[in-house]
Amino acid sequence: MRPENYSPVQHPPSHEYELYFGPNHPGIEGNYAIRVRLNGDVIQEAIADGGYLHRGFEKLMEQRLWIQNIALVPRICVPDPVPMEEAYARAVEALGGLEVPERAQWIRVMMLEISRICSHLFTFGGNAATIGLYTNMFWGISMRDLFLDLFEEITGARIYHMYITPGGVRRDLPEGVLDRLEATLDEMERRTPEFEDLFFDNAVVIKRARGTGVISLRDALAWGVTGPNLRGSGLPSDVRRDDPYLVYPDLEFDIPTEVEGDALARMRVRKAEVVQSIRILRQVIERLRGIEGPIRCPLPNPLAWNIPAGEAYTRVESSKGEVGFFAVSDGGPKPYRVHVRGPSQMHAVQVLERVLKGGRLEDVAQIMFSLDACPPEVDR
């Protein structure tokens, strides 16, 4: 529903009223809206309203060559684009029978984990901002910027990298970038205590976030919650471990969980995940220093590339949860169908509607951010 043609329903006289929350709000990663019915400041009902960022990617992908879609997929999720590239590439690889060379697999893991850190920093800053703590936002964004510099160096682009391609990656790593990644990780670790002080040990945060937007493990499983949100409710489930891809089986990392299932728990899971991503990245750096070889398997001429008929469902653990790509080929030069399953399709709609119910108006933004809902992923 659009605000301009929104006409409030005539309600019988009551204390209830409706509020159109959005579509522009700093507490949301992209344009999105929630209609809330309130009694006082207590939410009686919340109705998610998307579509502001619908770009028709699934339709467009049917009209483009297999290789051309690498330019579209990162745009499905702005703050965490790499898992989209990975999921699409892997779907094409599964359909086309492509083997990704080892070096490329490690580089892809590196990209995925840097992207996870970036996204968590973004969420961390945004989440704090929803409760009025803007310093965190600046810190999160500025720290993220250091990682974006690395992206720029590796891929030539800061946000939409269009770097992972079916069969590998598009360029080898520049000289010395592993050293600079290491230095950035050191800086990240140096600053972690500051984030701790500023956010996680902050009385305001704890007061606002504890007990807010609680999802029980049972509900989480029933409602299709995944990723850090599910782990915040206590289930140590992670696609990287359960349905492994690339070289994740060769890596040591823990799957952090919290049990409370509230906004604070979810943020704490993310904080712990950043630590794990740093741990992964340090292993990747070490391995990449010793692995030479091609960065991409030979590909057919992209203008004459038919992929055998079939279908593939690939899953990737993004910073927000389970990303799924279902790709169908009819044997032609373009995908017959690509269905994108973003974790926020659950988190930002049915889950959000349920969690908000009974909550307070001032918590809407925080709850949404604590779920790390990504509207562009919902709308596609």
Binding site: L133, F200, D201, A304
Partner: protein, 613 residues
């Protein structure tokens, strides 16, 4: 930090943020920061390298690239140069840089320039050169790398007979691609169409390559027959201008277009080919008749077209079999006779009446032909061999390559020389050298064959594979040597002793003109029982008779024709080697033009077979 629900958090710790007051700010000054080494900024394009193939436009997923025709740029279809360059619409570009990764020449790159601010929409549509969007010469960012090239620059190898199994026979050397290799080879094509424009006959190579890739060989054959009734021949011995122009060939091996054509033809049986070739044949007869003199590619192509258009065509051939140089010049190991016969059978099936052993001359005078037929086409080729005329070339054991090849085709017995020297560096020279070498091996088990060419190794007129294969077969190729004289075996011995050659220092002068310079201090004697001259051919137009010769206009010793092959004499056309010099595909192209012109002359209007289809 405590996580128990009781823990309420600290009010003091967040105040540590105040310490940041004394830190260096993270914000950056308001000047553009230098971009990373492989940044994807605005496009740059090296116009010297760019050939205008338009592959960037094809790969662009946002239709952000338009090709701009720019008059004045090099426009050379034969070299694969089109006078056009890509322009980028930054209202559509998403900087995926696939255009860079696919660019066949490597001319396109993204620069490290990334700032452009303007309220004027028109400034977002740019025609990039090597200086970039604002002419600021920013360094290249994302550019082509070897390990990320999207094009396959290596050709599928052609399976063929090894030297041992081919040196003593005339079996075809090339086996042809199998389906798998053909599809892989066809898949390398980027469909830029340079080949189409470079081909004298404008064959629809992109279309048939694509059809082969799709496994649809019927469509491939159909596309081939649109412009060429000699696909079996051209699939083997074409001079493949298309491959010279191929964009993939700018950095790698061009698509093996010729071999792909051969593959498509081999995939269908002759009956099916015939059906496809005769699609579109006009069933109504026009009642007009055309005589074609000479059954080489030019004559038969015109005959085929005209017959399909409903005219009664009779071809007069002096030799016992049709095909001209394709039969009597090209050795069988390059072009098996049965494949040539297959092409000619299709032409006959179109209704063309080919009469062999029918030389125009006293028994069949030119005047009679002109009286009996509504139109006459001359396509008698270059049948006579040229001689260097150095001293001694009048010796009976100095032979002409053309005459010898003719004799071999006819199956005449030849006194195979124990030792032979061939003068010449073109394909004909190699044809005779390799043919005689086979006969030598067959008769005596050993090859003693020397080929002397004026040209240096890198500038041979013959195809590269001819040189390589000839060497494999035992032919000694000597480059940079010019003939000085043919010598006798001894002062009183009239038998042939050999050929004396002198070192050729250079063939061309600074202006590229033929001007051989010799080093008289470097003379070699090549002992031989036979010397074969294979330097060039001449046409014999004596059959025209004095009157017609006088009536025709001539230019540089050849009959002068218009673009459509019409001579200055009404009702008379000429085409092929005798007009344009030796080349099958040029002859085919000329044959089409003549057919179209004759058809128009006979009142057929402007309908062409292409249009009729």
């Amino acid at each position: 930090m405590d996580v128990t629900p009781k823990y309420k958090g600290s009010f003091v710790k967040p105040l540590k943020a105040l310490s940041h007051l004394f830190r260096e700010p993270v914000t950056l000054p308001m000047v553009p920061r230098p971009a990373s080494d492989n940044y994807r900024g605005f496009h740059v394009n090296d116009w010297e390298l760019c050939v205008g193939c338009g592959t960037c436009r094809q790969i662009c997923d946002n239709a952000a690239i338009r090709m701009i025709h720019i008059p004045g740029l090099p426009d050379d279809p034969a070299a694969g140069l089109k006078p056009r360059r890509p322009a980028i619409d930054y209202g559509r570009c998403c900087w995926c840089a696939l255009c860079v990764d696919i660019c066949p020449t490597g001319s396109l790159a993204l620069s490290r320039e990334y700032v452009h601010v303007s309220p004027d929409m028109n400034t977002y549509f740019i025609l990039p050169d090597e200086k970039g969007i604002h002419g600021l010469n920013f360094p290249k960012g994302w550019a082509k790398t070897d390990d990320a090239d999207l094009l396959d620059l290596a050709r599928q190898p052609m399976p063929q007979r090894d030297p041992d199994s081919r040196g003593d026979n005339f079996d075809e050397i090339v086996h042809g691609y199998d389906d798998q290799a053909a599809i892989l080879e066809a898949s390398r094509c980027i469909q830029c169409g340079m080949c189409h424009e470079a081909c004298p006959a404008n064959m629809h190579a992109p279309e048939y390559i694509r059809a082969i890739w799709e496994g649809d060989k019927e469509r491939a054959v159909r596309e081939i027959y649109r412009t060429n009734p000699f696909p079996e021949v051209c699939g083997r011995v074409c001079t493949h201008r298309c491959e010279t122009a191929c964009s993939i060939g700018k950095r790698g091996a061009p698509i093996a277009i010729r071999w792909l054509k051969r593959h498509a033809m081999a995939a269908l049986d002759d009956e099916r080919v015939r059906t496809i070739a005769l699609e579109g044949k006009v069933e109504d007869r026009t009642g007009k008749s055309v005589a074609v003199i000479g059954s080489g590619p030019a004559g038969l192509t015109a005959a085929f077209d005209l017959a399909k258009l409903g005219h009664a065509v009779t071809v007069f051939e002096a030799k016992p079999e049709p095909g001209g140089m394709m039969r009597y010049g090209i050795p069988e190991y390059r072009l098996p006779y049965d494949r040539l016969d297959a092409d000619i059978a299709v032409i006959r099936a179109a209704g063309v009446d080919i009469r062999c052993d029918s030389p125009v001359g006293p028994d069949l005078p030119m005047d009679k032909l002109r009286d009996d037929f509504d139109a006459v086409m001359l396509a008698t080729g270059l049948g006579a061999g040229r001689s260097t005329r150095v001293p001694g070339t009048d010796h009976p054991d100095v032979k002409s390559a053309v005459a010898l090849l003719d004799a071999i085709t006819r199956g005449e017995s030849i006194d195979v020389p124990g030792r032979a020297v061939v003068i010449g560096g073109g394909n004909v020279a190699f044809d005779i050298a390799r043919s005689l070498a086979r006969l030598q091996r067959k008769t005596s088990g050993r090859v003693d064959m020397t080929l002397v060419a004026l040209e240096e190794r890198d500038h041979m007129l013959a195809d590269e594979e001819e040189v390589v294969e000839a060497r494999e077969e035992g032919v000694v190729v000597l480059n940079g040597r010019g003939p000085r004289q043919v010598v006798l075996a001894g002062p009183s011995d009239k038998t042939l002793g050999g050929l004396e050659t002198v070192r050729c220092l250079s063939i061309f002068d600074e202006e590229g003109r033929f001007h051989p310079k010799y080093d008289d201090g470097d003379v070699m004697l090549h002992e031989a029982d036979m010397v074969i001259e294979a330097i060039g051919q001449a046409s014999d137009t004596g059959y025209l008779g004095e009157d017609l010769t006088e009536a025709l206009e001539w230019a540089r010793g050849r009959i002068e024709v218009g673009a459509d092959g019409a001579t200055s004499v009404s009702g008379l056309w000429a085409a092929g080697d005798m007009v344009e010099g030796p080349d099958v595909i040029h002859a085919v192209a000329a044959g089409h033009r003549v057919a179209e012109s004759i058809h128009r002359f006979l009142g057929g209007g402007t309908t062409t077979l292409e249009a009729a289809e």
